[in-house]
């Protein structure tokens, strides 16, 4: 109370001072004045006290009283600017009135955020679709090198899975799998389609994820998997602003707990003893074993050192703005002989004069990657630890399997990296330029935008002479040059119409776009490069062997007409209609054009008079429905072509003849894939705008899915399955995003946001008249989700011969007569008395019950902390590493701590180990299924910003030092290396085929602004 009275007292005093000043001014400036009485209230009619009333352009200010009333004397044509913390500043023309009722709109940062929706922007409060927005600031302290992985956990309904492989982008799926071919969303970066792989996350201003039909509809045929719109930074008015970031990341990759040579030999001898005992052909004695003890993971893995530097300059005036950035990244790679480096330059400018404005972005990126051969996580298991890294007796000097000492086909990865060297330099040039005219008093904007992406890359291969695996033939050394170049041009012409009258607000867009793409590959291979001493000369001219080469090109074009009308009435009722007509060269002439439309409605309930819930500041209900298209297939999938490659030899002397044939079957009647979506959402801001909640429910149904559905081998098809409009999928789900932000005292502010999503997938139709489709591990059936695990079921381990004899079907037939104690007892699912392919059954579901992301951040004085976590819950994963390690059937390595069945220790969960016998280690059994549930603290970022008063002295505006820990904490029961893996395709989405794990890292960063 005491405090309050003091502030009131101060306030009154201030008012006296201001009034005095006001009176003085009045006297000085003008005599023709008018006295106005008024009140200021909020949107629900409650008086607002302490609001500033300022005569615009004059130093004339009054403040409202506790009842919201004010009195001010101004000139009759004056404009009053009314402002108060927590409300949107409002301007009111006096226009000779003497009584004013001023209503202030709640200021909600969240709701007033501008959202880019494609060929335009809207305020979030006017949005009628499902859009998640990620601010550049949220990305900045994540320091990811790749745009997609930097978004991890920041938006609901977006599933991002990093691959961990240096230079390889993460995978991203929005709202479940809707397509069978391609679930990759469309990226639109500054109006340019694609190119996200080369974007420097530090340049990003904001990311918008357009998830439903109405939001994405303006991108029509390209938007079926959702759209991600990225805008890069632009300069701001003001003097030059320099921002510099320097990061150092130490990175390492997780390792298996594999047996060392001593342990391995014990187990391997056991497996041979068992093989001899059970009469495996050709096994008469144990292996002689190499003497080495190689930790292959140690040989291949090291601490990667990644340095990343960004410098940007920005600034400008009202008439022209610029943003220039430089980026340098040097990744030494956490794997032997791998690496990635990147140089990037960006120049963004924009300007305006009168009715004309223009903008331009330009990006040049040069990268170089030294490739990794194969998947080391599969090879770590495949190779015996007794094999030495180097073996002078072998061609090339590397160790590998030997029929007598280590009968094993594992590959020596060190040898492979040394002998097969692939480098991959790339150049990307990307830019757009637009010009815009604002006509009829800014009612119409006419815009012409031209975007261009040029990509050129080379894969240089040097194959040196030498072997890395047992049984490798004597390969010739060779050089390979494979060049790829593509040009992608987009021309867009759009007209934007804006008009506000009374309470009507109309915004209409119309346009036409034309996109053309051309790619070209040229390759040359030449045998026998020149070798001087130990050095291979990589010039083709110096090579002496025969040369082969070839080239091919790809071309495509897309023409689209687009239109959109947004209408709102009194800020309460919102409507949007979007139409798009697309024509693509990828579909046959008659089916080339597709029309796509969407409709949406919104209702801001909180603006209604009757709505009076004090703790809800804003409430909006929205619904939409629309159809999107997809023709994301190969360039000429509908055209059947002749393969001219086959050759045969006849005659004496030998002569080579040219053969021609159709290799790949085609379906010539392809049409647009269509995805129809319905979305219902609620947005609410509550508790003084501190709590923001969005809830979305969606149903999506795709039909005429364009898919490379496997066809029968008996068709003789070769070279990939033909595209077909096969099948229909449904996805429905719910997404909840909730965020809380608050401030405690002056020094502590925090925010917490949680997003949870759940998707249910269902196969409605499978095409070619199929009701069911099988892959090695999975089954897709109508009415079921895709990719259900369809496997043999292990019932246990036979402990005795008596148990084997007693395991009979109902007719008394012994089901596994050839089994031995220690073998797996499989379920005779169909009861026919034999274990056959008919005994496979649905044993697992790869779809998580739900996924969640949790983001927390807080600042206390100069410290800031951000914690990001996300997880997937309750689903099954097939552990391919465990299946690959199997039971010593191929002398591969295995994990420490396994306890196989032996007569001395007859365990019940793991069979005996036998060399040369795979009956217990087949991949297609449920023994390898595990619960994949995990929650990962993907990032913990801590920063300290040096107080400005200190930095100012050295001319620095802001100086922040930070540290970020990535992927260090994961809660999971999954025994594989990493529960977050890139799957092997949508039909086997739950299969972890020894996938490349995500790196763990610690990053130190320093950033300056001055």
């Amino acid at each position: 109370m005491e405090k309050r009275s003091i502030s009131l007292h101060l306030y009154k005093r201030l008012r006296v001072i201001l009034l005095t000043a006001f009176l003085v001014c009045c006297g000085l400036v003008s005599m023709s004045q008018q006295r106005i009485n008024g009140t200021v209230s909020d949107s629900r009619g409650n008086p607002v006290s302490g609001a500033n009333i300022e005569e615009k352009g004059k130093n004339n200010v009054v403040v409202t009283g506790t009842n919201g009333a004010f009195t001010i004397t101004v000139s009759p044509d004056a404009t009053l600017q009314v402002s108060h913390i927590g409300f949107v500043t409002k301007e009111v023309a006096v226009a000779n009135q003497t009584q004013l009722q001023i209503s202030l709109e709640d200021q909600n940062q969240e709701m007033n955020q501008v959202v880019v929706i494609g060929y335009g922007t809207v305020r979030k409060k006017d949005l009628t679709g499902a859009v998640s927005v990620i601010k550049g600031d949220a990305l900045r302290d994540r320091n990811s090198q790749d745009v997609i992985s930097s978004m991890r956990g920041l938006a609901s309904g977006v599933k991002i899975t990093s691959s961990g492989l240096p230079g390889q982008s993460a995978s991203i799926v929005i709202r479940g799998l809707g397509s069978l071919t391609n679930n990759y969303p469309l990226f639109v970066i500054d109006g340019i389609i694609g190119g996200e792989a080369h974007l420097n996350p530090a340049d990003i201003e904001s990311i918008q994820v357009l998830k439903d039909a109405s939001s994405a509809a303006i991108y029509g045929s390209r938007a079926a998997n959702g759209v991600i719109i990225i805008t890069t930074k632009q300069g701001r008015e003001g003097p030059v602003r320099v921002q510099a970031d320097a990061n150092l990341t130490l990175e390492w990759l997780p390792r298996y707990d594999l047996m060392d040579a001593t342990t391995w030999k014990q187990f391997d001898d056991m497996a041979y003893d068992e093989a001899i005992r059970s009469g495996v052909a050709g096994v008469t004695k144990r292996q002689n074993h190499y003497d080495a003890n190689t930790d292959w993971q140690n040989e291949m893995l090291k601490t990667g050192i990644l340095q990343n530097y960004n410098v940007s300059l920005s600034g400008g005036s009202k008439n022209g703005k610029y943003f220039v950035s430089l980026n340098r990244l040097d990744d030494e790679g956490a794997l032997y002989h791998t690496g990635y480096d990147r140089y990037g330059v960006r120049v963004n400018t924009s300007g305006q004069k009168g009715i004309f404005s223009y903008g331009q972005t330009f990006l040049y990126t040069r990268t170089n990657r030294q490739n990794l051969n194969g998947n080391p996580w599969a090879d770590f298991i495949a190779i015996s630890p007794t094999i030495p890294v180097k073996d002078p007796l072998h061609p090339g000097g590397y160790g590998y399997g030997d029929p007598d000492k280590a009968n094993n086909y594992g590959r020596n990865l060190v040898g492979m990296q040394d002998l097969f060297i692939q480098k991959n330099p790339e150049n990307v040039l990307k830019g757009n330029i637009y010009g815009q005219l604002s006509l009829f008093n800014k009612m119409v904007d006419a815009k012409l935008n031209v975007a261009y992406i040029n990509y050129s890359g080379t894969t240089n291969t040097l194959r040196k002479k030498g072997n890395w695996t047992m049984g490798q033939g004597s390969d010739a050394a060779y050089l390979g040059y494979n060049n790829y170049r593509s040009d992608d041009i987009l021309i867009e012409q759009t007209y934007n119409f804006k008009r506000k009258f009374d309470k009507h607000d109309v915004n209409a867009l119309g346009g036409i776009t034309y996109n053309t793409f051309k790619g070209q590959t040229n390759w040359t291979t030449k045998l026998d490069p020149l070798v001087i001493g130990d050095t291979y000369i990589t010039s083709l001219d110096a090579a002496t062997g025969s040369t082969t080469g070839g080239s091919s090109y790809q071309k495509a074009a897309l023409i689209s007409y687009l239109g959109r009308v947004n209408y709102s009435y009194a800020d309460k009722y919102l409507a949007q209609v979007t139409m798009r007509r697309d024509g693509t060269s990828r579909l046959p002439q008659n089916n080339r054009w597709g029309n796509f439309a969407s409709y949406s409605l919104g209702w801001r309930i909180s603006s209604e008079k009757f709505f009076n819930v004090p703790f809800i500041n804003d409430l909006k209900l929205r619904a939409n429905h629309g159809t999107l298209g997809n023709s994301n297939i190969g360039f000429w999938d509908y055209q059947a072509v002749i393969n001219t490659a086959p050759r045969a030899v006849f005659g004496v002397p030998e002569t080579r003849f040219i053969g021609m044939t159709q290799s790949q079957l085609t379906n010539i009647d392809l049409v647009w894939e269509r995805k129809t979506m319905t979305n219902i959402g609620i947005d609410a801001a509550m508790l003084k705008n501190r709590l923001n909640v969005s809830i979305e429910y969606f149903r999506a149904k795709s039909k005429d899915l364009l898919v490379y559905l496997p066809i029968l081998m008996s068709s003789g098809n070769e070279g990939g399955n033909p595209a077909v409009n096969a099948g229909s999928l449904a996805n429905k789900g719910i997404e909840i995003e909730a965020g809380w932000r608050d401030r405690i005292g002056n020094d502590f502010s925090y925010n917490v946001s949680l997003n949870v999503s759940r998707v249910r997938n269902e196969v409605l139709d499978l095409g070619y008249g199929k009701t069911v489709y099988y892959e090695f591990l999975s089954k897709a059936a109508i009415g079921q989700p895709l990719g259900m695990f369809y496997l043999y079921k292990m019932l246990g381990i036979f402990q005795t011969d008596a148990e084997i004899q007693a395991y009979k079907n109902k007719d008394g037939k012994i089901i596994q007569p050839n089994a031995k104690p220690g073998d797996i007892k499989y379920d005779d699912f169909n009861g026919d008395g034999i274990i056959s392919s008919d005994d496979r059954q649905i044993v697992g579901n790869p779809w998580p019950k739900f996924e969640a992301g949790l983001n927390m951040s807080a600042t206390y004085k100069a410290f800031d902390l951000a914690i990001n976590g996300y997880g997937r819950f309750k689903y099954d994963v097939w552990n391919g590493s465990a299946a690959a390690a199997a039971d010593f059937a191929n002398n591969q390595n295995n994990f420490n701590g396994i306890v196989p069945w032996t007569t001395q220790n007859p365990v019940k969960d793991r069979p005996r180990i036998v060399f040369g016998d795979t009956r217990n280690s087949r991949g297609d059994q449920d023994r390898w299924l595990e619960d994949g549930t995990f929650f990962r603290i993907s990032q913990i970022a801590l920063g300290y910003t040096v107080p400005e008063r200190l930095t100012k002295k050295i001319g620095i505006e802001r100086l922040r030092a930070g540290a970020t820990l990535t992927n260090l904490i994961t809660f999971t029961k999954y025994s594989g290396l990493d529960p977050e893996f890139r799957d092997a395709g949508i039909f086997t989405m739950g299969a972890d085929n020894a996938s490349f794990p995500n790196p763990r890292s610690v990053l130190f960063s320093l950033s300056f602004t001055f």
């Binding site: 050394a477 045969a648 021609m660 159709q662 008996s714 070769e718 070279g719």
Partner: protein
């Protein structure tokens, strides 16, 4: 100004509309479209070449068929380091989708069949200046399609019979082996009339009338249609064919890359090292430089030298050594067929008993490695150029003997045929054999048949003939299986009624409602 801008805009929009057709009509000029093909004789000719091209695949005659056919038969065994591969050759089929063997062999044979069907479906649309050329091409394709079908029938028995160019939605019907054989017989009877009896040197490697008769004879035999088989074999042995074909004097010439396309060879797959790329590149259907060689040698060479995916069973050595030649030496076929520990001792007159330039390794013990089709390469390249003799005159002589015996018992002609094969390697006439009971054999139909099983086994071992022979003679009774077990322990895994055929690739069964998995799998 404003009007001007709108006009420009409208003009641009109009221009898109008016030329949208041309802008979106983008043809694939990387190759020829099927609509522009099958117009000329040259098109038809290249269509046929593409069928031959399928010989050069891992799932056909580059490598895997050898492992599988020899491994299942009693003459071979796989002790490959790749366990799944070796299990497959031992009747242990765990994963029916095993890519390296089961699906690859299945798929690549059907690719060949699709290519053949394309020619047969389209050749009538092509105008030929020379009708004989057309007849020849049709004959070749019918021969080739039958050839591919014959081998997959031998492996899986109950297969879809596809005779028309495929479309993606096809779900072809399954047929019994007898139904397949009937179709192949029709095709080959036609091919026989279309193919020339001899060819100029430039066409060596394309099937002749004799080749078609030989394949037809094999199929009739497999179908147990002996009189029909006799007709074919008569042409080859007593008819016109005897002008073109005969045994070569030196048995070893049949497996040497320097004695290819000799008079004993009725049909051989032409391998070459002309396309020498640097690495293992056989299955790239789009690469004009893909290998045209065979990996037969790499596949069978001892571990450490080659892949050792397949090797010989020891009984072969013992059986060869049971009967000596008329000049009291060991059967030279033993020398040319396998490598084994005592070769140097058994053939003292031969200086070339080294195994890939090396001495016999003591740790190989009693193992026996396949020597047929090896070359002098060292170290081994992935491929060699040694033609594979698929249809050999010796095979025909013994089949003739078998067919005649089935119809009329051991006729003098039947005995003569057996003796021609024996005499080449200096073995005594069968009636004079001291080891075998010559009198009984030459007078008793059953004894003659039983003896042929041994005679064929020794003459044609490890040439992908044995498995077909075993199937023809029957694998349905325990006595036979027991006898096979005594020679090849793999038959311990043999289940009567099941193991005589392989499991059809599971994905194929799962996704074709007209195809049932073979019984027992």
């Amino acid at each position: 100004m404003k009007k001007y801008i709108f006009l420009v805009g409208a003009a641009i929009a109009m221009s898109f509309v008016s030329c949208k057709k041309s802008l979106l009509d983008i043809n694939n000029e990387n190759t020829i479209s099927t609509g522009n093909f099958w117009k000329t004789e040259k098109d038809a000719e290249s269509g046929v070449i593409a069928v031959y091209n399928m010989f050069y695949r891992q799932g056909t005659w580059t490598r895997n068929i050898y492992t599988q056919m020899q491994g299942m038969a009693d003459d071979g065994v796989s002790l490959a380091g790749w366990t799944e591969l070796s299990e497959y050759a031992k009747f242990i089929f765990t994963n029916y989708n095993f890519g390296e063997v089961n699906t690859k062999m299945w798929k690549e044979h059907y690719v060949a069949i699709f290519r053949a069907n394309q020619v047969l479906d389209n050749i009538d649309n092509v105008n030929f200046a020379d009708q004989n050329h057309k007849q020849d091409l049709v004959g070749q394709v019918k021969f080739l399609r039958s050839f591919y079908y014959f081998y997959i029938t031998s492996l899986w028995d109950n297969i879809p019979l596809v005779l028309k160019s495929s479309s993606a939605s096809d779900r072809p019907e399954q047929k019994t082996p007898e139904q397949v054989f009937t179709q192949l017989e029709t095709d080959l009877e036609d091919a026989v009339t279309k193919l020339p009896a001899t060819r100029p040197a430039a066409e060596t490697g394309r099937p002749t009338k004799g080749a078609a008769y030989a394949l037809l004879a094999k199929i009739y035999m497999q179908h147990h249609k002996y009189p029909e088989a006799i007709k074919c074999l008569q042409w080859l042995i007593d008819g016109e064919g005897k002008n073109y074909y005969d045994l070569v004097a030196n048995y070893g010439d049949n497996f040497s890359n320097t004695k290819e396309n000799n008079k004993e060879s009725l049909f051989e797959i032409q391998f070459s090292l002309m396309n020498r790329v640097g690495f293992d590149q056989t299955d790239n259907y789009r690469d004009p430089n893909a290998q045209l060689g065979t990996q037969i040698e790499m596949n069978q060479a001892p571990a450490g030298i080659g892949w050792n995916n397949v090797e010989a069973r020891r009984w072969l050595v013992d059986y060869y050594k049971r009967e000596k030649t008329i000049d009291d030496k060991y059967d030279i076929r033993l020398f040319y067929t396998v490598w084994y520990n005592d070769a140097g001792k058994d053939f003292p007159e031969r200086s070339d008993t080294m195994i890939y330039g090396a001495k016999w390794r003591s740790d190989w013990g009693n193992r026996v490695f396949i020597k047929k089709y090896s070359t002098s390469a060292s170290p081994l390249y992935y491929w060699n150029d040694n033609n594979f003799r698929s249809l050999r005159y010796a095979d025909m002589l013994l089949l003739y003997a078998e067919a005649l015996n089935e119809v009329n018992g051991p006729t003098p002609k039947a005995i003569e045929c057996v003796n021609r094969v024996r005499q080449r390697v200096n073995l005594p006439l069968i009636q004079n054999s001291t080891y075998y009971n010559g009198t009984q054999i030459t007078t008793n139909k059953d004894a003659f048949r039983e003896h042929l099983k041994i005679e064929r086994g020794l003459e044609l071992s490890l040439e992908c003939v044995r498995w077909i022979d075993l199937k023809r003679w029957g694998l349905n009774d325990q006595t036979t299986i027991n006898e096979l077990k005594s020679r090849d322990a793999d038959f311990n895994n043999f289940i009567i009624g099941k193991s005589v055929r392989m499991p059809i690739p599971q994905s194929e069964v799962d996704n074709n409602p007209n195809l049932k998995q073979n019984p027992g799998y």
